[in-house]
Amino acid sequence: MNIDEFLDPTILIVSGKGGVGKTTVAASLALVAARHGRKVCVVEVDQKGTLTKLLGGRSATYEPTELTPRVWGVNITAERALAEYLEVQYHMKRISRVFTSSHFVDYIATAAPGLEDILILGKIWFLEKGRYTEHNFDTIIVDAPAAGHMLTFLSAPMGLSDAVRVGPIKRQAEWLVEMLRDPKRARVHLVTLPEEMPVSETLETAAALDGKIGISAGQTFANAVYRPLLDENEQSLFEEIAADGSIDELCKAADRVGLSLDGRDLEALNGYAGFLQSRRDIQADHLARLRKGKGGVIDLPFLFSAGLALPDVESLADVIEAEVASL
């Protein structure tokens, strides 16, 4: 797939279960888009700035701030979005303040579930249309909230537009539905780990997106996949050496470069190689399940760095570029 085709939709929504790497993938996608000349806005939804820090910036605010060249960040909360909505729709600046300082949104969210999500999607719509902001973004990357089921976030506008019969709210809900269902405007990328629960949930979500929700699913990102250590020849050589106990073959190789290895060292080398292999076998089963689903799967490598930072995100962006090209 051509990278421009991949970056064609304005809004890329990155979704998935908690802790699978949504924020990491969202940051990597932002770099990919920026490398290809897009002016990018990354959207954090009610989070503590993990995404913006990963991109080397400070915590984002409701107003866009530049994090790294061509990449901007915002942090949207339902409270702020509601306050802004009331301000621009009803010119109710004063009452809107009440919302930012109390639990109202909690109550309203329970009374009308999905409203919070709609407020957030509404702000994303404003950003897409360049309303109430001086910026014009080519690409908007949304790090979707992990809490609850990921589908509720995306299906909220459909629910509201069905529930309300007439009036401005109805119209606005329909605008959001249109935005989400237009593959030129929005695409959902699912992130998962090659483990049981995340893969099962991802398959279910992909099917539902395609089916009753009607939003185009983009790629599925399988994150933290262990890369193979040995190629085929090396693998069979290793097995031979291990099988007939001619471990000193490896000691000899070590000696040649002035490294002395004893039996325990060889056990350690063997132990770690075995651990990697058994984790890879488990991952392989789940990756196979994932690949049986519809749509392309992009594998992202497990990174051994201590705490991911911008250089790691750069390297994941390299992988995404290469993998997209080979889709």
Binding site: S102, G167, A253, D265, L269, Y272
Partner: protein
Amino acid sequence: MNPINELVSVKEIIVCAGSGGVGKTTTAAAIALRAAMDGKKAAVLTIDPAKRLASSLGLKELSSEPSKVSKAKFTSAGLKPKGELHALMLDTKSTFDKVVLRYAPTPEQAERIINNRFYRNISGTLSGTQEYMAMEKLYELHADGGYDLIVIDTPPTRNALDFLDAPKRLTDFFESRVLRWFLLPYMKATGGIMRIANVAATTFLRIVKKIVGAEVLEDTAEFFSNLEGMYDGFKQRAQDVAALLKSDNTSFVVVTSPAEDSVTEATYFATRLNESGLPFGSLVVNRVHPSFGEPIDVTPRQLRRLQEGDERDRLLAKLLINEDRFRGLVHLEEKNLKGLARRIPRHLWVRVPYLQTEAVDFPGLIEIAERLFDGEAEAV
């Protein structure tokens, strides 16, 4: 003595808590399974278990009632339990319904609440509900179940503390004056006195009504007015549950992974347990990367020479690189865990390695249980 082993022999309730994905459900299941093997009548209350784990326990769907894990499940895994294992998956909605039925003054009122739309949304969306209902279920199992040991799992929140704050958050929510003040115009006048809502409330409601529709507000008001008179019951129960959790019968097992975020969370959680007077029992450090020996010192030059050599040399280079990477992880995990030792003394820790198989069936659980029960306590 191994801390988990000790807890299981003297406690009636073990609560497995920790942040999401660390292995709470797995740990809870493994503890209960082992207790059953050793002769106890044990129950495990799981919340949102992986499908394969659920089916290992013979659970197909949410069920409010415990079901006994069949002998066949054990024998097919080559096990002979001396006791019994019962398992259930928390069903938040039906547990909540039961609470409402218990405290409503009349069955009609209970029915009005249960059919109310606002009420129906609560169990799906309101944070804290699942936690509250888990506690409710625990109380019930403890009171009527006749179990020697109940192990409970906690909801998959990102934040382990949500669980501690849940009952309070839920009662605050129900009792909020502010909310009722805003809903006043919608409440049916009680006691014959129609109160006059103030201007701010009316303006607010006008807007909210535009956004969510009048029906939604009516439902909300109806829910809260039906709830009048039930608060005392809720509160009493919350107090009873709190007392049970604080009693000598109960112990908390904090589960963490060695990753930085979850260690931070576990440290904080242990402190909060302490402040709240809840009995901390043990720390399970789960999914620890195994260490296979002392580090091997290789210079970059040696490595480069191997990489430029023949196939055997290149193989060795790769094995050395792999060792170095995992060694790095092991080192990082140790570093993350260091700070935790200041909060939780090491003799209360149990480590469970990252298994080389999946921990979803009886053999996997037994393997975890072996580490939990038979692992040496950490050297002080």
